[in-house]
Symmetry: C2
Subunit: 492 residues, 2 copies
């Protein structure tokens, strides 16, 4: 075995051993552990902030914001565990005299699946990396985590990993509950996904990367789920009345969203679909103005910058695509500004390459001649994380068919907003039909993300004192339970 193979095998075996005790750690203790991780991250202070800034070119405000989001996420999962109702305790009491056969007593709850492998994301060095949403949700569910750190920010990952290990020590939890593997290549990721002790995988990144992991996992003797959030082009559909009345404001909002964080968001609005009605020319003009005025920024790695140049140039190389406006990059500083292209609906439908995500501050306006053509463009869309409708309430009310079609293509449908900015809450869905994510039934943002890493088990006719607290008659944790098909906090 090579050194890397050894290291990974050791991490996964250690995680599997740690699982034997960590899975039985009560929710309230896991909550305290998650909060402690947040505290340890805060204690890293400016060292962490500056390390992230140095490694990713992100500005201080964004890094501090993302740090708060990261500790905020940990606290939200802690809240969830303290409340306790997330285990979906479901009880159907027995009936020993039921005819023709007695009815058993059945009690179900969610339990952890086992060691989870998490791939750190390049664009979120804190919120989707060593202790990001994937790690927080897997740990909250009772699973040890082995993180493959993103090569763009190794020092950041190292700092955060140390914080987690400190928190583990403070609660005398087994070391194997968390491990960080750093490797600039793909080998360690492959080995982690293939390891027999790995029970699930969380990934945020490109479609190519995500699908490679999905394929690897499906080839294992024991297939495991890979939750890959692979981004999307997040179409924004602008209806005629909104275009007529609000084109200036919409253009302004959209370009700001396209350019936010150098466009390095999976919810970047990469596609703007509208009809060539009144206001269209002014809308395009305004986009051009906004693009020209937008500030530039450096991307989080040279690799990402090169890919952005390559992919945006590829789009503009199609003769059907004209440039509304593109901020010239300054190779010396490596700064990028927004770029927006324009294409006719028929050409867009005919050219599959134009449906692909360009990761960075890029967007493509698709100009439709008629409402029917707009419907055809929608029909041609692939699965998306988000779709946004810019409309007046009145005109939207007449487009129920369009709403239904858009809903079928995405995980989150927005009205008159921008898709960037993903609220961490129970009602968030961050995951959409393929290829936006590998399993649209789950979210990678918000507390429901925990559902990816747990599975239900039923106890049948089990003695009261040996049932987990969540399922005991007296409901000692005072949680919401579905008892004989009614939600209640009452005891039985």
């Amino acid at each position: 075995m090579t050194e890397l193979t050894d290291q990974i095998s050791q991490a996964m075996e250690q995680a599997a051993r740690a699982f034997e005790s960590y899975k039985n750690v009560p929710g309230k203790l896991r909550a305290a552990f998650l909060r402690q991780i947040g505290d340890e991250i805060n204690l890293l202070g400016d060292e962490l902030i500056h390390t992230v800034m140095n490694e990713t070119n992100l500005p201080e405000g964004r890094v501090r914001g993302e740090k708060n989001r990261t500790t905020g996420q940990l606290n939200k999962f802690a809240d969830l565990l303290e409340d306790g109702s997330w285990v979906e305790a479901t009880i159907d009491t027995g009936d020993p005299v039921r005819s023709p056969i007695p009815k058993p007593d059945l009690r179900k709850l969610l339990i952890p699946v086992g060691p989870v492998v998490v791939f750190g994301a390049g664009n979120f060095p804190l919120a989707f990396s060593a202790t990001g949403g994937d790690t927080a949700s897997a740990l909250a569910g009772g699973n040890p985590v082995v993180v493959k750190g993103h090569p763009a920010h190794p020092k950041t990952s190292q700092l955060v990993a140390k914080a987690i290990k400190k928190a583990l020590q403070k609660f005398a939890l087994p070391e194997g509950v968390f491990e960080l593997i750093q490797d600039s290549g793909h080998k360690s990721g492959q080995l982690l996904v293939q390891h027999p002790q790995t029970k699930a995988v969380g990934f945020t990144g490109s479609q190519q990367g995500g699908m490679a992991l999905v394929k690897l996992a499906s080839q294992r003797p024991e297939p495991i789920p890979v939750f890959a959030e692979m981004g999307s082009v997040n179409p924004v559909v602008i209806l005629p009345e909104a275009l007529k009345d609000n084109h200036t404001a919409i253009a302004e909002k959209l370009v700001a969203s396209v350019n936010l964080g150098a466009g390095q968001f999976c919810t970047n609005p990469g596609l703007i679909i509208t009809t060539k009605r009144k206001g269209f020319e002014s809308f395009i003009e305004e986009i051009g103005k906004q693009v020209k005025a937008a500030p530039g920024a450096r991307m989080f790695s040279d690799q990402v910058f090169q890919n952005y140049q390559l992919n945006s140039e590829k789009v503009f190389s199609f003769s059907e695509v004209s440039s509304v406006e593109a901020r010239t990059e300054t190779p010396a500083t490596g700064e990028v500004g927004p770029a927006v292209g324009l294409v006719k609906a028929a050409d867009f439908i005919a050219q599959p390459n134009l449906h692909e995500e360009v990761f960075g501050p890029f967007s493509l306006v698709v100009a439709c001649d008629t409402d029917e053509q707009l419907a055809e463009v929608v029909q041609a869309l692939k699965g998306q994380l988000t779709i946004t409708i810019q409309a007046t309430p009145d005109e939207l009310a007449n487009r129920k068919e369009l709403i239904s079609a858009l809903l079928g293509k995405c995980g989150r449908l927005l009205f008159n907003g921008v898709p960037t900015g993903v609220e961490v809450c129970a009602a968030m869905q961050h995951g959409g039909p393929f290829p936006a994510s590998s399993d649209s039934r789950f979210t990678s943002v918000g507390v429901s993300a925990i559902k990816r890493f747990v599975r239900p088990v039923s106890y049948q006719d089990f003695p009261q004192d040996l049932l987990p607290e969540e399922l005991k008659d007296e409901n000692p944790l005072n949680i919401w339970r579905l008892v004989n098909n009614e939600w209640t906090k009452e005891q039985i």
Copy 2:
């Protein structure tokens, strides 16, 4: 294209078209449709009962029971839809003045995924076939269904399909909501799983069959989930005190469970694990007696009968396995009776072939020398649908580590019962860690089975009157909703 390819392509395209309207049919109407299917099945009367009996060799009582289970399942899903709370409506209200950025209004619920392909199971010609649990849960969720009928009971499938089509007509629902494909080979199944319009697959059957479908699905350009329930050996662990005090009753109960329905259940107790303590010899003796006295029965197809003979003979061909007792088959009638083998724990652990399911009235007693050895046997077990513990409450109380280990291996843990008999209710989990099923996070029995065929979507800042009823402020359907992290039926 061949005729079969044409037929399947037509069925799937028709399903996709039907989905466009069926997905928007209100829950209460879908409920009435499901009840109507049950009524139409009841109207088939004795013709259906006799057709099933002729095609499957199942006795009348069992067929009538299974018919009731089938209509009962449809009614339970109808209840679920009428109640409406199953969509997991989750609302986080907005806060436009939150600092530093406003909080959006987010509202999430479950929506259908699209056309589902269901494979009829041979051992449940009604309850897991054309309109069994998979079909009922997919239709309940709002998805069209295309069933690949099991070749062992084509006439039964045809009758039931007609009942469903009648129900569709009565409610003026599109024909494409249900289609039955019959084919004695594997080709149609492959084509159905590969068709681009197929969004999910439900399967109950062998590990070989299930894994073939999982592999096929993973090779599609758009991977789709395959929910394969692939059976298990359903270990029964007998602890010393229970063995000492209750061995006669336990032996009686177990052999009856092994022999129930000629052992043609995925929950057949195919493995009995105990220690050679007081009562062991008498337990084995009693098993022998019960086996000898047990009635014989014909299996549901010649193919299954031949496989059973082959697989049980294979187990007995291992020199380490002795026969406790095996009812001789009568080749003339093709009847089988129960057969039970005996093997030492060390030999069981060393021989992977002995861990495989023998589909039929077969079980293997694993004799352990010590509690430690029993723990090793448990450690060596693969994922199971069920595990049963036979014990006195007192001795169980001292075996928390064993309980934790068993829980980690199964989807349902029973105390002092037998695994056959799968209650259809909210708290049922029928699905376990691989290879018992392809995705342990879901169940194929009970109303939660609907969760396999739906996905969450969030509406962000959407106008009230365009939200689905489930998410409107006034909660017109009076369903349970998670509003700002509290379960409530109140309006907002």
